[in-house]
């Protein structure tokens, strides 16, 4: 076999390589470097080996934050995915309602994260916030700065409000790509609404749902800005997620070594979870492709 070898191609990818190195590889290596050393300031570093990692994995504080984070991620997935599918199913497929719905759905996505936080922080306040004031007047004791349950509910509702639209839009894209003949066939076969959903709509949405779950999982696992603005991780440590904990450690306490070790572990967790999600979801329901000579 003969190949056309053209070395010019390497020059073309150099800028990208440089950019990736600058933005990802070098910072990552710095973090790796920090994670195995100790410092008392003055730019003096001492070899610490795996000490920080051992300490971290043994620490209750880290494990609590991790568990909190997982509970948070799975809660919002459990709410946003079904809700997103439901809203997408309710949206019109044609007519003037389509652009209206799409714009309405896109609105929350356009709001910057810290603004979302601020909105809900004010919205939920018992003294001046519309939500907090109303709830308290209705006799429901609601105060997210003191009550962990209220804080959790606030953070989750805020995320649902902010991100369900993304799931809706993805699902809607999947739904409109289903040819009309499928619905017609289902009517002829006497299929119920549920059967249409289960055997036509859901299988056809599978790909976009995979993307939605992945995006929402990664995003929610890395959530920082919104809960930080609203609850600051409190009351107590009840809404202190990994990212908040990390920042507290790195910037609040200047424990660079442990913080670096933690971010590496954090990074690995996201990577592993995303990979597992991806493989599991792509294999669900997929028929093993037959080796077939063309």
């Amino acid at each position: 076999m003969e190949k056309t070898i053209n070395n010019k191609a390497w020059f073309m990818v150099l800028p990208v390589l440089a950019l990736v190195a600058f933005s990802a590889v070098i910072p990552l290596m710095t973090v790796v470097n920090y994670s195995v050393q100790d410092t008392f300031g003055n730019n003096q570093f001492f070899w610490a080996g795996t000490e920080w990692f051992e300490e971290l994995l043994a620490s209750e504080r880290f494990r609590d934050a991790l568990v909190r984070n997982l509970i948070f991620s799975f809660s919002i997935l459990a709410i946003e995915i079904p809700l997103g599918i439901f809203i997408a199913l309710c949206m019109p497929r044609k007519g003037w309602g389509v652009p209206v719905c799409l714009v309405l759905m896109a609105l929350p996505l356009l709001v910057p994260w810290n603004v979302v936080g601020t909105i809900w922080q004010v919205f939920g306040r018992a003294d001046i916030g519309l939500l907090g004031y109303t709830l308290n007047n209705l006799g429901i004791n609601y105060n997210y700065t003191q009550d962990p349950v209220a804080a959790w509910i606030t953070v989750i509702v805020m995320d649902v409000w902010h991100w369900t639209s993304l799931v809706v839009l993805l699902c809607y894209a999947g739904l409109v790509s289903i040819p009309e003949a499928y619905y017609q066939a289902a009517r002829i076969d006497g299929a119920s609404k549920w059967a249409v959903f289960r055997y036509i709509q859901l299988p056809k949405m599978q790909r976009v749902l995979l993307i939605a779950v992945l995006l929402r999982f990664m995003d929610s696992f890395m959530i920082y800005t919104e809960p930080f603005v609203v609850t600051g991780g409190g009351p107590g440590n009840s809404t202190t997620f990994l990212s908040i904990d990390l920042v507290k450690m790195a910037l609040g306490q200047f424990d660079l070594g442990p913080a670096a070790a933690m971010s590496l572990v954090y990074f690995l967790i996201i990577l592993v979870f995303s990979y597992v999600f991806y493989t599991v979801m792509t294999n669900v329901g997929a028929d093993k492709p037959q080796a077939k000579g063309e």
């Binding site: 076999m1 003969e2 190949k3 077939k292 000579g293 063309e294």
Partner: protein, 360 residues
């Protein structure tokens, strides 16, 4: 001129194209004929440079272009779907490759008008493609491919999405249009009748291999393997197992028939005889005809002709008969065959008789 030398393509460990060698002359029309998944599209993508072959070389006008990307290859393509720029008028659609080539307005105008004339699009130049019929949309796509003056024009089942009559119309015009340009034309289709109507040369594809390549009628009348014969036959070619014993051919039911002159040279042994439906008759036409009893499965009328599906000596055959035959299903009828019409294949599928069968 486009030359393929031992071209192969492996995707994920599976052979999609195997050892294809062919020379396509400038100004020629080459039909790639084969069923879905036989590799027509893959082969076209290799010719275009959209994909890189895993083995072999591709030469354009003697120059090695293996691995050169499609952008450098001077290729035009027409697809089964009508692909045009929806926002541009027909005129601008046709002119688009010329604008990219930065030709002068006068020259663009001249070329667009000429292509539009050729494809009968002149009255619609100001319309956008969505306001045209399917046939006109595909004509626009064809005009765009032609005006580019590309050295290689690839068409992947361009008429498949058109109505029967529109297809017939455009198909009759295509050879004339091709003759006007000096490019290498490659035309993929699943339909044998389309290949016959287009003429030119035909390559039959089967499971990623070109089983035969030559002038269309030659391939049709003298297929070198049973596979080629079956690929290039609509209705499907009928087959019959025979054993040659001296001067007779023995059929599976024990009937012995005299060997035709052109089969005398065959060595004794088992063979497979292939014959086309229009050579299976419902009445005895010549002395050479021998009759076999069969059971009618289905009879279909196409207006001037009838197709009779008949079970005979353990095979299901199709007979094409003139006129309207009202034959009832499950009737027992006698069908007649002339051994001189047999294409005799060895049991491994290779053609055994090299003489042309005599026309009945």
């Amino acid at each position: 001129m486009l030359q393929l030398k031992g071209v192969g393509k492996v995707v994920g460990g599976v052979d999609h194209i195997m050892d294809v060698s062919m020379t396509l002359e400038a100004g020629s029309l080459n039909v790639l004929l084969g069923p879905t998944l036989s590799g027509k599209t893959t082969l076209m993508r290799l010719m275009a440079g959209l994909d890189k072959p895993t083995s072999g070389r591709i030469l354009a006008n003697g120059k090695d272009v293996t691995g050169h990307s499609v952008r450098k290859r001077d290729v035009a393509m027409v697809y089964q779907q009508f692909i045009n720029y929806p926002a541009l008028t027909v005129y601008e659609n046709i002119a688009s490759p010329l604008r990219i080539a930065r030709l002068g307005q006068d020259e663009i105008d001249r070329k667009v008008k000429k292509a539009a004339d050729l494809l009968k699009l002149s009255p619609y130049l100001d319309r956008t493609p969505l306001n045209l019929s399917g046939g006109q949309q595909q004509r626009t796509a064809l005009a765009r491919a032609l005006v580019k003056g590309a050295h290689l024009v690839l068409m992947d089942e361009p008429l498949a999405n058109l109505d029967y009559k529109l297809r017939e119309e455009l198909r009759a015009e295509l050879p004339k249009i091709f003759a006007e340009s000096g490019a290498v034309f490659v035309y993929a289709t699943t339909e044998p009748s389309e290949a016959l109507l287009l003429g030119g040369k035909t390559a039959t594809l089967h499971e990623g291999r070109v089983s035969q390549f030559g002038p269309t009628l030659d391939v049709y009348k003298r297929p070198n393997t049973l596979i080629t014969a079956q690929t290039f036959s609509d209705p499907p070619m009928n087959t019959l197992s025979i054993v040659k014993k001296g001067d007779v051919l023995e059929l599976p039911n024990g009937t012995q028939i005299p060997v035709a002159d052109n089969e005398k040279r065959l060595v004794d042994g088992p063979y497979i005889a292939g014959f086309r439906p229009h050579h299976l008759h419902l009445s005895k036409r010549t002395d050479h005809h021998f009759g076999l009893k069969g059971m009618v499965q289905v009879s279909e009328i196409t207006g001037s002709e009838s197709f009779i599906h008949v079970d005979c000596v353990g095979e299901t055959w199709v007979a094409l008969a003139h006129g309207i035959r009202n034959i009832e299903v499950d009737d027992e009828i006698e069908v007649f065959l002339d051994p001189r019409n047999f294409l005799v294949f060895e049991t491994n599928g290779r053609l055994a008789t090299l003489d042309m069968p005599v026309e009945a």
